[in-house]
Symmetry: C2
DNA sequence: GATTGGATCGAAACCGATTTCGAATGTTCT
DNA sequence: AGAACATTCGAAATCGGTTTCGATCCAATC
């Protein structure tokens, strides 16, 4: 039995419409009544019902958050959660709250699109890094503004942000090259991951552009981006016989798994083999050796995603994409000195 | 211009009320018309507006998620985010979605309670681990069902889940004692954190019950639960002169920071000093030494929180609390063998 | 055949806001 | 004083659902 607009109107001795106008900054209400009403609103702590407001205006000030894909890219993923946190903050400043759709419901029917209209979300952010699924494509092609994080959306009301995966790979190769490494390997996620594939393609391109020879025996793939996959991949590489002098892993956790396998096999990192990760998650600083990696500007990705979505919602942009520049973070896992 | 209930009614040649009844499992509609309407709903992909539904029923099927406190306990915190993920999954099974309130809005007025009524949330989960703030107390005392995670709520419609901090401390002391350590130190968060205080109190109690002497010079506090605080705390301990043989840190990140400071000072872990963390975050497994710690059953905490909240919402419970049993995870940071 | 009762459906009020449009009042100008 | 205009306000329709209650129809009962 919460206070509603009617009660405020009664208390102030004005009509419901007048109260509504005051709440929405109309200018056809006198300063005197405005102050009186505002005072009562203040006292009662009145906050208009979002449902009623949404129903009347068809704007909910809600942004849907979708974790797409099947590689367990959940809210717990250290990279995405930091992007999301930055996104959430920025969206808050812009006046929006976030609603997380529980994936469980999809089992019992109801695709992403209909859930968006169900909640009248003004827009949504889709977090993935995998290949596009049909349900996501439907949403992308709808009239609902969407921003992909590490997912290339192409709809008229869509956009995306991601790091430049080609540049990432090229920075890694350059670093390894300058350290004297000529035999380079790669540990990726499953082939279903666009992100992993792009990093691999960029890596190959960079290797070739440096005039190095490519040994695809040293290119190996796990099932996802997590640590056990990296461990398993490196195990296979070791059992296979010949090892490269350096490997680039498509995620930090893959790199850490690989390092675990190497240590277990009595190999030293970086002395026997150098390892580079990707993402610069928090844990990189605490491992032994600390992990040389590529930092993606997660905060910037989140802020950019928020602003792009805001502009899309307010018809101030036609979508598009932002590619954020990555930075090489040199720690211990490749050795530090040049030609060291 | 989405399909609404009126359109469905027209297409099926029935009234709006009949459609509504079918959607809500009333039994005064014939099987024949029911099938006809359901078919049309299926074809059109109709999904009823949550706003309209909420407005009419005063139930939103939405759970508010609140990160309280000022210690940067954000969505990124590795412990809470895992509890939250489990909570989210379970809540999804129970038919609820999650809405995250953007803290930014609070700056410009509007407390937690009014935001909950604003969105008609059916209940909310409050994630903290700090002392209770007034705004949270208001919410706790309101008629809105609330569950605290690491926060002791006491309202009539409230409950909470947490790990048994006394038991945590006692398991740590027992472990250290059996390893032969008699000089025990502690690194906590700020005194504003109930969790840290409880762990400290339990630690002291356990030390006394083992008949060990207490040296409060070895008890030291940081500003929060994060790594730099642990580093700074250990630095102070080192500069202070005498060092304990083992320290218990109130979080894993504090422990990792402490280890960094020790290494930097040329001390070996665990040979010169043993370190125990708390939480068992993912990174514990990748550090050197790997971190002996206390595992809190995050998945169970989340599931319990979800069920308690559900029961509270549906008046099937009067609130209360669940305390989950912690488990000691022995890794390398204290040495592994007994008396080793 | 009249009555009862159950099954099936729809009209209408309602939830709490927004927004349009016209009415009433006050102000300025000729 | 009267006309023209600006200011201020409220009645009512609307958004998309839910829910109550009465109407209708048909079968069963007496």
């Amino acid at each position: 039995m919460q206070v509603n607009i009617k009660k405020i109107a009664e208390m102030a001795g004005v009509s419901v419409s007048t109260v509504s106008k005051i709440m929405n900054n109309y200018n056809d209400v006198s300063e005197k009544t405005k102050q009186r009403v505002l005072e009562i609103i203040e006292q009662t702590g009145y906050s208009p019902s979002n449902s009623a407001k949404t129903l009347a205006t068809k704007k909910s000030n809600l942004i849907g958050v979708i974790f797409a894909g099947e590689l367990n890219v959940e809210i717990t993923h250290p990279f995405f959660v930091e992007v999301l946190n930055s996104f959430k903050k920025q969206m808050g400043v812009l006046g929006y709250d976030l609603i997380f759709f529980s994936n469980e419901k999809f089992v019992s029917g109801g695709d992403y699109f209909s859930r968006c209209v169900h909640f009248h979300v003004d827009g949504c952010v889709i977090i993935s890094g995998e290949k596009m699924e049909p349900a996501i494509r439907d949403l992308d092609m709808s009239s609902i503004p969407c921003i992909g994080v590490d997912l290339e959306l192409k709809g008229k009301k869509s956009g995306y942000v991601m790091s430049d995966n080609y540049q990432i790979a090229s920075k890694v190769v350059e670093h390894l090259y300058l350290l004297g490494h000529r035999e380079l390997g790669f540990i990726g996620s499953t082939g279903d991951s666009d992100i992993s594939n792009q990093r691999e393609a960029g890596y190959i391109k960079a290797i070739e552009s440096f005039g190095l020879s490519l040994n695809t025996d040293w290119f190996i793939h796990g099932d996802d981006f997590f640590e056990p996959s990296g461990y398993a991949a490196m195990r296979r590489l070791i059992e296979q016989g010949s090892l490269p002098k350096a490997v680039f892993a498509a995620s930090d956790l893959l790199a850490l798994g690989a390092i675990r396998a190497l240590k277990e096999h009595g190999l030293r990192v970086p002395e026997d083999i150098a390892v580079v990760g990707c993402d610069d998650i928090e844990a990189c600083k605490y491992t032994t050796p600390t992990l040389t990696t590529i930092r993606q500007n997660k905060e910037r990705l989140g802020v950019l995603a928020a602003h792009m979505l805001f502009d899309l919602i307010n018809n101030q942009s036609e979508g598009g994409s932002f590619v954020v520049e990555p930075a090489l973070i040199v720690r211990e896992s490749c050795g530090s000195g040049l030609r060291g």
